[in-house]
């Protein structure tokens, strides 16, 4: 089973279930090395103004080959559907990619998604031929609505973006997994390897993270830890965990005791 355990989003198949961000790294070299260690095949990127006063400044694409990795342009920093759509239209023009990460934020303090705007943007983007993977609240009804609106993946937060608090509501993440026909990925909130494993043990198709790797003391080592955690969590989910008991149950036989 485990040798060929791939997943598919919008008709594209990937082996790695870890998607990593490319923000907050010390430099492009560290970012690229962490990416290799993570084993990720998809990276999220942001769309920003070029610095016209320094056109020869190094660019992300010089260090991370867009032909080798799937670039997933995001709408980080967008607080309205219009801003997000405008950003993704530019991203499609810059890179030619229609698989995108939509996030429409509600407020700076929590970076919680504005679900009304997110849903509206999802509908419009899907009509324009985009394939939006959508950052959302951990609400099974909202996830359904996004799916109906054309989301090719739903990506509920485990905890606020950049908080590193771990998955706060396993029940709702599991409810989303059980109800979804599209891939479910935990996006945001992972702090350390066990958090990623928890998400995968809940049956998620993958995990998206940035800060947990980039802000680790040794980002490259943490990237490897996340790769292993995602794989371990996936294996544990496929293996099917034992039942929980209130009391002890000895592992050694009672028969034949001296």
């Amino acid at each position: 089973m485990s040798t060929n355990d791939s997943w598919t989003v919008a008709g594209r198949t990937f082996t790695s279930r870890l998607i990593v961000g490319t923000g907050k790294y010390k430099d492009f070299e560290q970012n690229a090395a962490a990416l290799v260690a993570s084993g990720a095949e998809i990276i999220t990127v942001a769309v920003r103004r070029v610095n016209v006063s320094d056109p020869k400044a190094p660019m992300l694409t010089d260090y991370i080959d867009p032909k080798k990795y799937t670039y997933l342009p995001n709408t980080a920093g967008c607080f309205t559907a219009e801003d997000a759509i405008r950003t993704l239209r530019l991203a499609r023009e810059a890179g030619g990619w229609d698989l995108v990460k939509l996030e429409v934020l509600g407020e700076a303090k929590t970076l919680y998604p504005d679900m009304r705007e997110t849903l509206r943007a999802t509908e419009i983007l899907a009509k324009e031929g985009f394939l939006p993977m959508v950052y959302c609240v951990d609400d099974p009804i909202a996830a359904k609505q996004l799916e109906d609106a054309g989301a090719v993946a739903v990506m509920p937060l485990g905890a606020p973006i950049g908080s590193g608090l771990g998955i706060q509501n396993r029940v709702t993440i599991r409810l989303i997994v059980e109800g979804a026909k599209v891939p479910v990925l935990v996006d945001a909130g992972v702090g350390t390897a066990s958090d990623a494993a928890v998400g995968m043990e809940l049956g998620c198709d993958g995990i998206l993270m940035n800060t947990a790797i980039a802000e680790a003391k040794d980002p490259i080592r943490m990237a490897r830890a996340m790769k292993l955690a995602v794989e371990a969590g996936r294996e544990a989910y496929l293996a099917g965990r034992m039942g929980r008991r209130m009391y002890a149950d000895p592992s050694s036989p009672l028969a034949g005791l001296i």
């Binding site: 961000g21 490319t22 923000g23 907050k24 790294y25 492009f28 970012n31 999220t44 990127v45 942001a46 769309v47 920003r48 103004r49 070029v50 016209v52 056109p55 020869k56 660019m59 992300l60 694409t61 670039y71 342009p73 995001n74 980080a76 405008r86 239209r89 530019l90 991203a91 023009e93 810059a94 890179g95 973006i161 950049g162 945001a188 993270m209 940035n210 800060t211």
Partner: protein, 75 residues
Amino acid sequence: MSDSATLSMISITINGEPHRVSAGLSVAGLVAELGLNPKKVAVERNLEIVPRSTHGDVMIVEGDQLEIVHFVGGG
């Protein structure tokens, strides 16, 4: 520079900043003059995307509002 180029200058806005550029530049010409790699950027002119295939045809005129973007690290 195309044949239509003159010595006159026009005022435009690039990424929110005022700029003076030669009159008669196409979008492709402007991108080249700024020293940018046209394959790595996207251009929006007056809130409308300029498809890369038309960069050579779309002319920059006085008062244009341009956004030139590329990909940077993000989560």
